[in-house]
Point group: C2
Chain length 476, copies 2
């Protein structure tokens, strides 16, 4: 058996699924709710979500997007207005049939996503090209009744943000879908230290009701892909279904062009499975609820206490999220605890180091320990936080870049994904070839990397001329 670094956390190479379950529970991110498939997001997990919210709210604001809130209950008739949409979502909705002591006349769908109700409102509000673009976002809970669930990755209820826009031209809507994809990509680069693959979904993997769906996908430690966010150019499909019409500059009535885009608490699952190790979580500093933990060694020692407090205050002044662990447990126990919880930096403050005017600084990502001068602590911590963030991104990128392999046949695709890699495949425009890969290998088309493949390439499946390069992988 592989070495177990932490009691109750499985070795990740031996049983990655169990490792994940152990980590989310043991690190106090989440617990199972009483209703099957639901989760309780505990404070340590929720603080990660709040940090993501704050980051994205800033970015959305720069894009001119305003937050709002739309009702959770959608009349069943709305869901049915867009044919592909209802087909996609009907099997997994939860339905309120009874309220206020009475059977309802019309059943209410608990939103699985809000295109229908938001488009209904937009149709009331939008009259003229002067009202466009409209760009709103909401942070809310959504419900999708899934058969197999896992905390953060797939739960009956989850939290997300959903942006919804309307433009007066197709091009603007297409630009919006691409631009918001870049916002999500940057969230990965700057904040989550996750190098997302970005690209367009193939026909069979699109959002129900979209013209084009774009996706951010991350490679998990086990070589599977996690779809971590999507943006959709909905064209005029929803505008026609909900009658969103505007008077254009030529004073003619025209249907609007809409988009939608979202990321969810699933991102926390991505963080865990991209960065985690056998000791537990490894959190990138920018998103970590606690960036630096101070562990006093010999906590009844007055000097240790005093210096610990002084350092805490100095770091707080520098807007570093810092805490002192003053509990009764041993230093060794605390080291394990905070390593498991993925805190980027640990400061060990002990009497013997202090005699030399020094403290010990430990970085979670590389597990390296060094001694630094007390007077350098702010500078050292600030620099190290930046360095850890960069290093974690680089490490994740190196990991994934080594795990992509070209495949030129179904059997090669199978071989590649069985070896926990993504398969890069030249393929023709016939979506049936993508579906064939799925049926025979269990790997799905994650995204189109290149839609303008040069002449002379052959489809790995049917041998006809290939027009595009598609990434295939097993996925969550």
């Amino acid at each position: 058996m592989g070495k177990k670094y932490v009691e109750n956390i499985a070795n990740m190479e031996e049983d990655f699924a169990q490792w994940y379950t152990d980590v989310v529970k043991k690190t106090d991110l989440v617990d199972y709710g009483p209703v099957k498939g639901t989760m309780v997001i505990k404070p340590y997990g929720y603080a990660i979500w709040e940090n993501i919210q704050n980051y994205l709210n800033e970015e959305f604001k720069k894009c001119g997007v305003k937050n709002a809130y739309f009702p959770m209950f959608i009349p069943e008739s709305y869901l049915k207005k867009e044919a592909e949409h209802v087909e996609g979502f009907a099997p997994e909705v939860a339905v309120v049939t009874y309220a206020g002591g009475k059977e309802l006349e019309e059943r209410l769908i608990v939103r699985p996503t809000s295109e229908t109700i938001i488009c209904e409102m937009y149709a009331k509000w939008i009259k003229s090209y002067r009202d466009l673009p409209v760009k709103m976002n909401q942070w809310c809970n959504v419900v999708r009744w899934e058969k197999t669930t896992r905390p953060f990755l797939r739960t009956s209820e989850f939290l997300w943000q959903e942006g919804h826009t309307v433009y007066s031209t197709y091009e603007e809507a297409e630009d919006d879908a691409k631009k918001m994809l870049q916002v999500y990509k940057k969230l990965g680069e700057e904040f989550l230290a996750i190098p997302f693959f970005t690209g367009k979904k193939t026909e069979s993997e699109k959002f129900p009701g979209a013209e084009n769906t774009y996706t951010i996908e991350a490679m998990m430690h086990d070589g599977k892909s996690l779809q971590s966010g999507t943006t959709h150019n909905l064209g005029q499909k929803f505008a026609k279904a909900f009658n969103i019409k505007f008077l254009n500059k030529e004073e003619k009535l025209e249907y609007g062009y809409s988009t939608s885009w979202g990321v969810s608490t699933r991102l926390i699952g991505a963080l865990i499975m991209v960065h985690g190790d056998d000791r537990g979580l490894v959190l990138p500093p920018n998103v970590a609820p606690i960036q630096t933990i101070i562990v006093p060694i010999g906590k009844d020692n007055d000097l240790v206490k005093k210096i610990s407090k002084e350092i805490e205050n100095k770091l707080k002044e520098n807007n570093i999220r810092v805490e002192i662990d003053e509990r009764d447990n041993s230093p060794g126990w605390k080291f394990n605890e905070w390593e498991m919880k993925g805190v980027p930096i640990r400061l060990e403050i002990g009497e013997r180091d202090l005699e030399q005017g020094e403290i010990t600084i430990f970085r979670r990502d590389t597990l390296e320990k060094t001694r630094i001068k007390i007077e350098d602590v702010e500078k050292e911590v600030l620099n190290l936080l930046i360095d850890i963030q960069k290093n974690m991104y680089k490490k994740a990128k190196d990991y994934r870049d080594k795990r992509i392999a070209q495949a030129t046949s179904i059997s090669e695709i199978l071989e590649v994904v069985d070896s926990k890699k993504f398969a890069r495949v030249n393929i023709c425009s016939d979506e049936n070839c993508c579906i064939k890969v799925k049926d025979e290998t269990g790997a799905t088309s994650r995204m189109i990397e290149n839609e303008n493949l040069k002449l002379g390439n052959k489809c790995a499946i049917c041998g006809n001329p290939a027009t595009r390069t598609v990434l295939f992988a097993r996925s969550y």
Copy 2:
């Protein structure tokens, strides 16, 4: 007919209910959702809610409260565990009976409040006195199927925060309920410019399942009371129903003592009805989404443009929420628009003033206009924002203080509330006397102001010795 200052907004003295409806719609705070009783909170309204969230998150943090998220669906059996609680909420719940294509085995209640599901989780997490206190809060949507609804005041779905704590003694729980009431009171004083009445609810007005309920109530412009937030000492009632037991210091198992407390989007209704006037909204600077609006007069004039932009930048550097209105409409139209939307300060920037090195500053609360030197603009705006905030609080307090009258009989109570005031009543300990007032006047006991009334006072209803002073009012 009274003067109508704004088209489509009713005169508030003539028809306050219509005035309210007009204001919320016309100022873009809210729209009606498609399902009866639901509301869409539009960006201008939602920004107010976000400001309240930011304020309270800071205050909660100071109290050691951590944010978390609990599932929205509550198994019906949970709701039934606490007898008073189910009786209070059963008539107004929405019920999911069908999900994922199947009839559910157990019906799921959409949370009307989360004591039951949170206590169920706390029972799993709490083992020892070392785990206490537990203090969590969640920001979420809740559903209560009400017969009569009004935007912000009473809607089938609304947004709120609900804090839930567990302590090891009754006294700590009681202190928590009182302390959080003070947090809400301070929110009124510092942020919403609303002088809340605070006190304990009488027996018949308590939260279903509470030992003690404390309330913040505000007097609306029409002399009615709006319950704007409550805190509850739940004693051991929920701990017993959900088996929250901890090992105390003497190593004996004991039930915990819990509290809960919340404020909702109803606060936005309070803001409107406390401060609004015949021109529309009047927003206190601290909570206003836009604190200062800049209206360029002659917006094609290059100097006007340049100075407008410079002033905007200067104010932004001072963290003032400022916007320039560069739309095609006339200055007069814009003045009305922003007065209606309650923006605290308007800066008018025109060529003629600029020649004197001056601009015009208008304050929404008193409708006063003065001219100031351009170089003083930051100082003047910063000072005026503080002054408006103070003045609005004082004005609201003066208004309410004049509208409280002592009443010594049912007929006097009726007279007082008919004249749009609150009645202060000495009353005995028998709750039936409170209920009698309600039945005969339509005014309910809003809170106990004094529980230790001196001997010699008589109950205004039955003539027996009075033990307490209670405020009665009609209410929303």
